[in-house]
Amino acid sequence: MPNSEFIISVTTFTYGLALVFYIAGWIFKKETPGRLGTTAMIAAGAGNTAGFFLRWAETYEMGYSYVPLSNLYESLVFFSLCIAVIYLFIEFKYKVRTIGIFASLCAFLSVAYASLPSMDSGIQPLIPALQSNWLIAHVITCFIGYAAFAIACGISIMYLGKSAAADPDTGTAGRIPDTETLDDLTHQMVTFGFLFLSIGIITGAIWAEQAWGRYWGWDPKETWSLVTWLIYATLLHARFMRGWTGKKIAVLSCVGFAAVLFTYFGVNLLPGLHSYL
């Protein structure tokens, strides 16, 4: 039986394939590559799911039995899975494949990063503080939120591209949905992500309350998740302000996703107290 890491490598390749097909379908305005892109994306999503559950089974084989959401490697695998599932749902609901370019790119980068040789992908048992169902709920909801924001960012980039295009109704730009639909989709993805990020922060706070006796402690990771949340709250309110066009909202959605990425990857680069004490 292949191990989960092998399956994830194949999945990485398949996401890459989906990306190539989606781009080809968009540039050459052909149905076939687009359809192949969808097929590859479904296959990659299925592989990703299999990899996730297989790793879960592997933790049982090693006698540690935990849900594989406890380190960077495992979270990256889950992140790409969330992106694939949410994206495929949108593709089937709204029949737009151009968004697939960004979605497959994000999913590909995520698992490709996880597959780097330098990534520690070992199965390590959980220390006591991490043995919590609230933590599982926390990770799952946060990553669903992050994935929605990733797709919202992709749609916003398309929005900005479309509105900047000299000739928005023909050529490659013409194959992007109209700005109204994009704006609507961004908003839907942001509200979906906002709900899940809120639940994620809340379950994280409950976990912190149980493990450390405080629901909020202003540690860098917590604070950055709050910063992200505040940026998206701003976006939600910006719609009620006169003079705020879809463009500014699209920019905010990109800034919000930058904050997501920093919360996810960047916080570890920040100065900890120990770095100079």
Partner: protein
């Protein structure tokens, strides 16, 4: 008169200032931007370390701006207060009109808005009169929607059937805003009435007293916490797997509660929550000191307890065991558990003596008349409990729940009005189905589709 007018307009202006969404956008972004500072500068560290890192001038400026404890600074709290004022004023102002919309005396429907709405679906039914169709459709629409009203416009035999759903969902956004207030209130209650501290309970003993965090004070609980057993287990790789304390709550000499305290599984008793936080080893009552005469190598053994003083052989000096440390740092090296003692000669200065448990020949370095070491230390585990009381937590948790429910209602439910219009035509009736809603255009479109499909089925049967 004039001044009063000015007063009023000033109050009005303040009210309008706080009622603006522009202000809230500014405040939310400012809070986001300033919160970042505290992640770039580690908070509440040693002042000397800050001075080393930033240099004197920058340190003074940062200190003046409270950047080393910014989340508790006056200006950060001011921003939060402004946000709350903004939130309250804005909500109060809007709630007045929303309330009228939600609980109208009589719902009104503007036909033109439906006629112009996108996603309107029309088709024709042959050989049917609007009046007959109305008979079939009205009961169905009543079963699906609320506030159904039927009108005959323009007296041409046409029929309009209105209905709606989810008027109350307009309140969702107020729930979200209210939950933000609850979170802030809960945090305030916690910071005023809460406390936090640390209590170490050796196995087999009970304690009431604990030391408060960030102060030198201690406090006493209304009950005793007894630790019956502490156990730490490891994975084969040496990683810790579980910390567990079997604790009992003792009130007036009686055990009222027992609990296996674990990380992630705290115990709350009388509003006080106890968490498994650390553990360590503590020496028991008695230990043995070994005194080896440096000249002859003769050994003497004596039993002693912490705080006790014994006379050294020959009676020329006295040895007191003064203290114990779990992990003693000697010239930067951790030499593990150690006793700190003091040797006082008949005349002359006292000498400190360090007695590491795991390094019995350590004291040879001192080159005294006697080389001193300890043995037979009867170690016991103690469990380190974090003690916390925070009456704000239930308020905060209520805020969490309301926020999730409120967001769900706001984002995924909507106040949707539907209109079915039946217009007479030469050969039958034109049916149009349209919907408008507070949000979720796509959802409304699909609701319109669904309703028209259902109506098509109903009308084709008759």
């Amino acid at each position: 008169m004039k001044t009063r007018n000015n007063d009023e307009s000033a109050a009005d202006r303040i009210w309008r200032f706080f009622a603006s969404v522009r202000l809230s956008v500014v405040l939310l972004l400012t809070l986001a931007a300033t919160s970042i500072i505290g992640t770039l500068i580690p908070q509440n560290a040693d002042p000397a370390a800050y001075e080393r890192k930033f240099g004197q001038p920058l340190y003074t400026i940062f200190e003046a701006l409270n950047l080393f404890d910014m989340y508790r600074s006056w200006w950060f709290r001011l921003l939060l207060c402004l946000l709350i004022a903004n939130l309250v004023v804005c909500s109060v102002r809007r709630l007045k009109s929303t309330w009228k919309t939600i609980f109208p005396k009589k719902p009104t429907y503007q036909t033109e808005r439906f006629r112009k709405s996108s996603g309107r679906i029309q088709w024709q039914v042959e050989k049917a009169q609007p009046g007959d169709l109305k008979q079939t459709l009205e009961p169905y629409i009543r079963s699906r929607l609320g506030n159904v009203s039927v009108k005959n416009p323009e007296s041409q035999g046409g029929v309009l059937i209105f209905g709606e759903k989810g008027r109350w969902t307009r309140l969702g956004v107020y729930a979200v805003h209210f939950s933000v207030l609850l979170l802030m209130t809960g945090a305030l209650i916690g910071s005023i009435f809460g406390y936090e501290g640390q209590m170490n309970v050796p196995e087999g003993e009970a304690r009431k007293q604990f030391s408060l965090t960030n102060t030198n004070q201690s406090k006493e609980l209304d009950f005793e916490v007894r630790c019956d057993e502490f156990e730490v287990s490891h994975y084969p790789s040496g990683r810790p797997k579980d910390y567990r304390s079997d604790i009992a709550i003792v009130e007036n000499g009686e055990v009222v509660r027992q609990h296996e305290l674990r990380v992630n599984d705290p115990l709350t008793h009388r509003g006080v929550t106890m968490y498994q936080s650390t553990y360590g080893k503590t020496p028991g009552e008695k230990l043995t000191v070994v005194l080896t005469e440096s000249a002859t190598g003769d050994k003497h053994e004596k039993t002693i307890s912490i705080g006790e003083t014994i006379e050294m052989p020959g009676g020329k000096s006295e040895l007191t065991i003064e203290d114990y440390s779990d992990s003693f740092a000697f010239r930067g090296h951790n030499i593990g558990p150690a006793f700190l003692a003091r040797l006082v000669p008949e005349s002359g200065r006292a000498t400190p003596v360090l007695l590491p448990v795991e390094h019995p020949s350590f004291d040879r370095m001192r080159r005294g008349d006697y080389e001193i070491s300890v043995k037979d230390v009867d170690f016991r585990y103690y469990t380190g409990l974090q003690i916390k009381q925070d009456p704000g937590v239930p308020v905060v948790y209520a805020g969490f729940l309301i926020m999730i429910i409120g967001c769900y209602i706001t984002f995924f439910m909507s106040h949707r009005k539907m209109c079915v219009e039946l217009q007479p035509e030469d050969t039958g009736t034109r049916i149009s189905v349209a919907g408008i809603s507070t949000r979720n255009r796509m959802g409304t479109k699909s609701a319109v589709k669904k309703l028209s499909r259902k109506i098509e089925n109903l009308t084709s049967k008759t």
